[in-house]
């Protein structure tokens, strides 16, 4: 079997793992909800990968992305740890070289990436306002008593348009209730909500940018047909949903890991499948070193400290990095 590269995306809502081969074919793909135990989920995912590929594998490169990338990067021994914008752009432009605009909406955040000639040229991110992310829909679906999976399809059944104020989740809620009282149907309300989300996205992220096709829509929310339709209406063009829409970040970072290994000619620093047997412990403490009283996070593997983050001055993280450098230099 040829070379295999692993890509791991640690988002706040989901954790995704993919394995690709030399030709970027997807050999394995896993999308799981992040239950707050990323390390355990990653261990479990890697175990599944091993079983799926019949134990007969050697990993040639590992990349980690997503908001929790640092920690998991340490644990896996990643060859590359990169932000999710770069990772997403990488995968999307690979599958769709003519991409002009990438809409990405996940559970807790949303992103916009502008691409020109296969290269990302601009981006915007929203992590503060829930009204432009999947959690907005989750929330409203719950209020309406509709499973989120059916939400998007219902939107397509709407006969009339109704405008729902979607500037903020709180307003949306009260507006939704009053529109229901006016006699709009559930599917009309849902369509209104989908359009409100897209309007928010346009206001917060796109702003005065000039968008160009092709339009790619990815991230967990891309499964929602109502949102897809609302985007299509907004830009007046077809919206493409990639086959692997919910793991694009993981695919991108696997590709970046491959590129990194090719570029440096190094062997992977992947710690191996045995990490599934290691026990990791994450603790935190408040440093009393100065008035910042940082909450420092400490990661231990089998009792040994392998990472420390969260210190503003580098007092703790530098120690670890220093030790690592020494070890590398002495070759141990």
């Amino acid at each position: 079997m040829g070379n295999i590269y692993l890509g791991v995306d640690i988002g706040s809502v989901s954790i995704n793992i993919v394995a690709i081969d030399e030709e970027n074919r997807i050999l394995f793909k896993l999308y799981t909800r992040n239950s707050g135990q990323p390390v355990e989920l990653v261990k479990d995912g890697i175990q599944q990968l091993r079983i799926k590929l019949n134990n007969k594998i050697k990993i040639d490169g590992v990349g980690v992305t997503g908001s929790g990338r640092q920690l998991v990067g340490y644990i896996l021994g990643a060859d590359i740890v990169k932000n999710e914008i770069t990772a997403h752009a990488m995968a999307t432009t690979y599958f769709y070289p003519e991409t002009g605009t990438i809409f990405e909406i996940g559970g807790q955040d949303s992103k916009l990436i502008i691409v020109k000639d296969g290269i990302a040229t601009d981006f915007a991110m929203n992590t503060v306002c829930a009204a432009g992310t999947g959690s907005f829909l989750d929330h409203q679906a719950e209020r309406l008593g509709i499973p989120i999976e059916e939400f998007g399809d219902l939107a397509l059944q709407a006969k009339r348009d109704v405008r729902i104020a979607g500037r903020c989740t709180v307003f949306a809620e009260s507006d939704m209730i009053s529109k229901q009282q006016y006699g709009f149907t559930k599917s009309e309300i849902i369509k209104g909500l989908c359009r409100a989300l897209v309007r928010n996205y346009m206001n917060n992220l796109v702003r005065n940018r000039n968008l160009q096709g092709k339009y790619i829509f990815q991230g967990g929310v891309a499964a929602n047909l109502g949102i897809k339709a609302a985007f299509a209406e907004e830009v007046g063009e077809k919206i493409i949903i990639p086959e692997h829409y919910n793991v694009m970040g993981a695919i991108g970072i696997a590709q970046l890991a491959k590129a990194e290994i090719k570029k440096t000619g190094k062997n992977t620093s992947f710690k191996g499948f045995n990490i599934t047997k290691d026990s990791f412990e994450t603790t935190s403490f408040n440093c009393e070193g100065c008035a910042n009283s940082c909450e420092v996070i400490k990661v231990q593997a089998n009792g040994q400290t392998i990472a420390m983050t969260g210190d503003r001055c580098g007092k703790w993280s530098d120690q670890i990095n220093h030790k690592k450098r020494e070890q590398q230099e002495t070759g141990s």
């Binding site: 908001s67 640092q70 990169k82 932000n83 999710e84 914008i85 770069t86 290269i119 990302a120 040229t121 601009d122 981006f123 991110m125 992590t127 005065n208 940018r209 000039n210 100065c290 008035a291 910042n292 009283s293 940082c294 503003r312």
Partner: protein, 308 residues
């Protein structure tokens, strides 16, 4: 009687005028105490004493004033800098700074050392501005005069060294547009400069641009901004937009800043036109560091791809 202990908040224009103040007060035989670096604790105190609508840098400033009082200074130096250019003022927050502090921390009213500064250029050394203060502190006019001279030439020298920048064209150069108190306060911007340097980036800021160039750029505007530091950023920003050596611009803006919202829109629209990569980082009271890192890393990746 020992030397008078005068506190200077390490905030706002400290990051532009400190060399001047340092020289001035040492020449006047006054012991200067600069407040500690911004910290979580200090900022939290500043927030507590501020009205909530005010911009973040003022909240930071209030935290620093409290820190100095805590350190037992005799006075805190809070000048009212009105103008450093004819017919152009500083942001209203500066014009009302001493009053705002009195209002926020009434207990310290008699610990504020203030006077008005109206100047026609960046130098704060205009003699007349200091007469009242010298009187209050029993300093002779003669001594004041010479102290101002020395402080001024010291500061001018310092400004000249800031202008000498070499741009290494092989690595990425990013222009940072933002007020000095946002660019240089490591706490408030989550060590943006260090992160960029660790990524091997050259950084340029408005202080590195000749003021004549800045003024020329500002003149191209049918109507300049009302506030001087905003003008400087505007001029420098347009200069950077046109400079081929600048690979991208990061605009660091403070949450709650009025002037910023205008400046930011101008730059954003024209960066788009000029095809210059542009990103806005908004500084507020509690943005997460990982979010900031993600954004600057992604921005740097994008510039690298473009350059290669």
């Amino acid at each position: 009687m020992g030397k008078l202990k005068l506190g200077i908040p390490r905030a706002l224009l400290y990051y532009f005028y400190y060399p001047f103040w340092e020289k001035l007060f040492s020449e006047l035989d006054i012991e200067l105490i600069v407040s500690n670096y911004t910290s979580r604790e200090q900022l939290d105190k500043g927030i507590k004493y501020s009205i909530s609508e005010i911009c973040v840098p003022i909240k930071v400033y209030i935290g620093h004033v409290l820190d100095l009082i805590n350190q037992g200074v005799d006075y805190v130096y809070i000048p009212r800098i009105i103008s450093i250019k004819k017919n152009i003022f500083l942001c209203p927050k500066f014009l009302g700074l001493p009053d705002m502090i009195k209002n926020s921390i009434p207990e310290i009213e008699n610990k504020i050392l203030t006077h008005q500064i109206t100047a026609k250029d960046d130098s704060l050394a205009g003699f007349k501005n200091y007469l009242g203060m010298a009187d209050k502190l029993n300093i002779s006019k003669w001594k004041l005069f010479w102290a101002l001279q020395k402080a001024n030439s010291h500061w001018q020298e310092h400004r000249k060294t800031q202008l000498q920048v070499n741009i290494d064209k092989k690595v990425l150069t990013i222009a940072l547009i933002g007020y000095v108190y946002n660019i240089y306060d490591r706490f408030i911007n989550m060590d943006l400069l260090r992160h960029l340097r660790e990524m091997g980036i050259n950084i340029v800021t408005f202080e590195m641009v000749d003021s004549q160039i800045i003024e020329q750029e500002v003149k191209l505007f049918p109507k300049p901004m009302f506030w001087e530091f905003t003008n400087k950023l505007l001029g420098a920003g347009y200069h950077f937009l046109k400079s081929p050596d600048i690979d991208g611009i990061i605009y660091v803006s403070a949450f709650g800043c009025g002037p910023d919202s205008i400046l930011g829109s101008f730059l954003e629209i024209d960066a788009n036109q000029a095809n210059k990569p542009f990103m806005t980082l908004r500084i507020d009271e509690q943005t997460g560091e990982s979010h900031l890192l993600t954004r600057i890393e992604a921005f740097v990746d994008l510039l690298k791809l473009k350059k290669s």
